[in-house]
């Protein structure tokens, strides 16, 4: 018992065997503040994705009308309501009693706007004043899980 403990002790003290040079070097460093505290913050993915925390909301996708744009049923999307929709943006829109996600195209000449799906199975949706239509927010990211770790 005693012998094995002694062995363990020697096993875990390799510093003594590595020579005086290393020990000296460590002593010099000990006088300086450790640089570690400046680098302890881990990457925070939310901070990269969420530019405006006050106006950012999340939603879940249900359906396949955007699958050719790489947005699938079950995906999580990040919506920033502070942004204004430009042509080509993907938007969370509220139309005739339902939230949906589509590409937005404004058509001022025709006095309407288009909500464009990305799946040939679905037609484009024309919206004008007669629809109960709101652009609720602009999609900034989609999060698609490849494998659930649980």
């Amino acid at each position: 018992m005693n012998i094995s403990m002694d062995q363990k002790l020697t096993d875990i003290t390799p510093a003594e065997q590595s020579g005086p040079e290393l020990l000296l070097a460590e002593k010099i460093h000990a006088g300086f503040p450790s640089p570690a505290p400046d680098y302890t913050e881990r990457i925070d993915i939310t901070r990269e994705i969420v530019q405006h925390p006050e106006t950012t909301f999340y939603a879940r996708i249900d359906g396949d009308s955007m699958q050719d744009a790489g947005i699938f049923s079950g995906d999580l999307v990040v919506i920033d309501r502070s942004l204004s929709a430009n042509n080509g943006d993907y938007v969370a829109a509220y139309i005739d009693g339902e939230f949906t996600i589509k590409e937005f195209q404004n058509d001022p000449k025709d006095n309407c706007a288009w909500l464009i799906p990305h799946n040939d199975k679905y037609p484009k949706i024309r919206v004008n004043e007669e629809n109960a239509f709101i652009i609720w927010g602009v999609i900034t990211h989609t999060i698609h899980a490849i494998k659930h770790p649980y």
């Binding site: 405006h52 925390p53 006050e54 106006t55 909301f57 999340y58 939603a59 879940r60 996708i61 249900d62 359906g63 396949d64 009308s65 955007m66 947005i71 999580l76 999307v77 309501r81 502070s82 969370a92 509220y94 009693g97 339902e98 939230f99 949906t100 996600i101 589509k102 799906p117 109960a132 709101i134 609720w136």
Partner: protein, 420 residues
């Protein structure tokens, strides 16, 4: 110069963010679980629905006009409020939040009132678009006048949400139309006194000499008088503390089990005590009650007012008093339908007069309490507490309700769905 940012029909506005179909429809939000109206949309106000009215009394209107009702969803309202406050704090170094839906911005850095007005209009747009809540601004040299201005900003659409009291003509015109009983910081008893002296409007009061205000209402009243006359002298920290703090619930089914009742009430108790400490107050009295249903053959009640010789905000001390009350008055085979706790006789926690016969080690109690509060503020509501707060699954099901909206912004399983 200050601006008061005040959310319009706040709880209703929060619900409408995720229910655009409810715009232009009459909507009410009901209190915790006892079913009184605590927020109304403008449409509901126009139908004559009064603040505080019990829901069962407006069943006729609800059916006739299709009024939509929600139970309070504080997870949602709290988060939306935090977003608004965070957004506001970008525009001032000194944001003083007054309530869940009101805050003062110190705008003394603006070079003139025109700039302040433009800024508030811009913030208003940002909150409306980015968060989806409509707010009003009252801009004035004092906080009391801001409150008056924000009232007019809401009342007249012509202001488009931003009303300014920046010169004496405007000040007098506004105060002339402002009833004295709505002036901030003037309590009910003071109103009665002032009305006896022939004062009807805020202007009547502000036009009297200072010595009148001082004699009639003492220092707080004098400060209000000064503020109405444009002299900045009240800070948010001095604003009146809440007079009472309540937590009560109606149980879905009558509770006959003593342990369950104790658990539920212990949680109410921890909840009100925490609110009390948050506003740096202590209470001298606690009202504890539990009733059977109104329809139960024999009304059985647990009901006591407990007076503490030394004012306290300590959960453990309140719990001791609560539990001994429940244990002494509880009757077997009785379905308790509604229970609650009200703290009152509330004062500031500075300079507590200790009772001569006080047997508690208050210093030690306070240290424990601070540790518990610190953990709970990090880990969530009542993560740590006293044994009797322990919540069994059974107890958590006591007061589930149907009409509450999802926690859209605070729980991942509750976020909205985009159909596509």
């Amino acid at each position: 110069m200050y601006a008061l940012c005040d959310c319009n029909n706040f709880f209703v506005s929060c619900e409408r963010i995720f229910r655009p179909d409810l715009r232009q429809k009459p909507v009410v939000v009901l209190s915790g679980n006892d079913g009184c109206v605590v927020a109304r949309s403008n449409e509901a106000k126009k139908l004559g629905i009064k603040m505080g009215v019990p829901f069962y009394q407006i069943q006729g209107e609800v059916a006739k006009y299709g009024i939509v009702h929600f139970s309070s969803n504080f997870a949602l309202y709290g988060d939306i409020s935090a977003r608004i406050m965070q957004l506001l704090s970008r525009y001032t170094d000194d944001l003083q939040q007054y309530s869940i839906d009101e805050a003062f911005l110190d705008l003394s850095y603006c070079s003139d009132v025109a700039e302040a007005k433009r800024l508030c209009e811009q913030i208003r747009e940002e909150i409306l678009k980015g968060i989806g809540v409509s707010v009003s601004f009252g801009i004035a040299p004092t906080k009391t006048l801001c409150k008056v201005a924000s009232h007019f900003a809401k009342k007249y659409a012509g202001y488009r949400g931003v009303c300014l009291i920046d010169n004496d003509t405007r000040r007098r015109k506004a105060l002339e139309q402002y009833p004295i009983d709505e002036v901030w910081g003037i309590g009910r008893r003071s109103v009665a006194k002032l009305q006896l002296a022939g004062i009807r409007t805020a202007l009547d009061f502000a036009s009297r000499p200072a010595v009148f205000a001082q004699n009639a209402l003492h220092l707080p009243g004098l400060n209000t008088w000064r503020e109405l006359n444009g002299e900045d002298c009240i800070s948010v920290r001095e604003l009146p503390e809440k007079q009472s703090i309540t937590c009560s619930r109606t149980f879905v089914h009558g509770v006959t089990d003593r342990n369950l009742l104790e658990q539920a009430m212990s949680r109410f108790c921890a909840n009100v005590a925490e609110k009390l400490r948050k506003q740096h107050s202590v209470c001298r009295q606690m009202f504890v009650f539990a009733h059977t249903s109104r329809f139960h053959a024999q009304q059985v009640v647990i009901q006591t007012t407990i007076t503490f010789p030394t004012p306290t905000a300590n959960t453990q001390e309140l719990l001791d008093a609560l539990l001994s009350t429940v244990r002494a008055q509880w009757r077997p085979d009785t379905p308790y339908k509604r229970a609650g706790i009200i703290l009152f006789d509330i004062s500031s926690d500075s300079g507590i007069q200790q009772s001569l016969f006080d047997t508690r080690d208050r210093e030690r109690d306070n240290r424990l309490q601070r540790a518990i509060d610190a953990i709970n503020s990090k880990q969530g509501k009542q993560a740590v507490g006293f044994m009797s707060q322990l919540q069994s699954k059974q107890a958590s099901e006591l007061y589930e309700v149907g009409a509450k909206s999802p926690a859209y912004t605070t729980r991942l399983t509750d976020i909205i769905t985009l159909h596509c």
